[in-house]
């Protein structure tokens, strides 16, 4: 049973904690609303309340992650079908998302035909735009050339970028290149300098959404689930009242709130991975019993309500009656 999280920076009667962590693994999801830095959460079984809140959203976007097109092992022999199921799920949302973020591992082996298949499938999304950041599977050649040719915002620029949308500032970061022995994900000094500069002209009251492939918090370093220099990046975000960090890589939903920063990881559209540190497990594809797979895959929807400064994160699975879990 997923835990319910209530957290509030603004003393509005909701449970207040300095640090809070939630993990919702396997077949669950999460819905969050960040309201002026206040995070509320609730299970999506509370559909009435959820629907009412989502109806107030000024805009929404969807996060897809870890599609691994080209993977064909027993954990999921048909990742194209499950990506298509995720796309169908997005297209069935009552309100089309303004855009989609894909947080990396689009492909399994960075092959041109894998990128092409993914692009062909993603064309079916009913949305205006898709923003990407690469996963380590998308840059297997060590340079990310194929990824960059297809998905770079501006091929002459660096891979990281920022943009504004309806009062929210978004930052896409790359932490899968130039990795070093014994280390974790890596942003690097050049990207950190850019981030500091990018945020310099953003007012502290502006909601910030940061997205990158590998978690920007230490989920489980023994499995490489963290980013070596994320603390530096997070230090630039401390002054903002509402920061949401969206990651993939670990193929399961996890939520952590620390100060004004909410960390959230998404499920994969391809295959699940074990909970961190599960005895006898390693951070690779997890093969589950037939019929259970789609309950462990999913999409993430984020709704933003201006005025109420609310940002809601909703995870739902690809199962027929996709179970959803929320944090609001």
């Amino acid at each position: 049973m997923p835990r319910k999280i209530l957290y509030d920076h603004n003393h509005d009667g909701i449970d207040r904690r300095g640090f809070l962590e939630c993990m919702a693994w396997a077949g669950t999801g999460a819905l969050c609303t960040l309201s002026g830095g206040a995070l509320k959460s609730y299970a999506l079984s509370d559909v009435g309340r959820l629907t009412e809140d989502l109806a107030k959203a000024d805009f929404s976007f969807v996060q897809l992650s870890d599609s691994h097109i080209g993977f064909s092992k027993p954990a999921n022999p048909d990742v194209s079908a499950t990506l298509q199921a995720a796309i169908d799920k997005v297209n069935a949302l009552p309100t089309p998302p303004s855009f989609v973020l894909h947080t990396g591992d689009i492909t399994q082996l960075s092959k041109p035909e894998e990128f092409d298949t993914a692009a062909q499938l993603l064309k079916g999304l009913k949305t205006d735009q898709i923003f990407f950041v690469p996963g380590e599977h998308d840059v297997l050649d060590g340079t990310g050339k194929l990824y960059r040719e297809r998905h770079a915002r501006n091929p002459t620029d660096q891979d990281w970028y920022g943009f504004d949308f309806k009062g929210v500032h978004f930052v896409g970061l790359v932490n899968v290149l130039n990795l070093t022995a014994g280390g974790l994900g890596n942003l690097g000094p050049e990207q950190l300098r850019w981030l500091e500069q990018d945020l310099r002209n953003v007012s502290s009251s502006t909601p910030i959404v940061v997205f990158a492939h590998i978690p920007l918090w230490s989920v489980y370093p023994a499995w490489g689930w963290g980013t070596d220099d994320s603390a530096q990046a997070l230090s630039y975000l401390q002054r903002f009242g509402s920061v949401t960090v969206l990651n993939g890589h670990i193929h399961q939903t996890m939520l952590k709130v620390e100060g004004h920063i909410t960390f959230h990881t998404a499920t994969s559209t391809a295959f699940p991975q074990p909970p961190p540190g599960m005895p006898g497990a390693s951070p690779g594809p997890l093969t589950v019993a037939a019929g259970q797979l789609r309950g462990l895959l999913g999409i993430t929807q984020v709704n933003i309500v201006r005025g109420q400064h609310a940002l809601a994160i909703t995870d739902s699975t690809l199962a027929e009656n996709g179970s959803m879990e929320g944090h609001l």
Binding site: K73, P74, A75, Q108, L109, S110, E136, H137, L140, D141, G142, L179, T180, A181, G182, G183, L184, P221, A222, W223, G224, S282, P283, G284, P285
Partner: protein
Amino acid sequence: MKFTGKCVILILAVSLTIASAGGTDTRALTSDPASYLVNIKDFTFSPPTLVISVGSKVTWKNQDDEPHRIAETNRAFTSPPLDTGEAFAYEFKTAGNYKYFCTLHPHMTGEIIVESK
């Protein structure tokens, strides 16, 4: 992608004696006394440390459902991405300690200690 002339990519299954998991292993392979095998399984190199003589060849074989890519920390050698069942071999012609890691999963590390004959 950079390859040295000494690198050999082996796609076929390698019928070699498998070095024991964990610890240091200096056993030669039965078919070739100067060939060694490092298994990549469950995101670990096995054995993690291997002591060999100059002129020996080491083959890494990926037995995970995830790709791995091996690189010496100073890039003395770098493999192409190795999908499941694929292997990469390198002949060590110079004595020294060669620390290596997986460029996709850098928490995976190993070492080849090459001793003079």
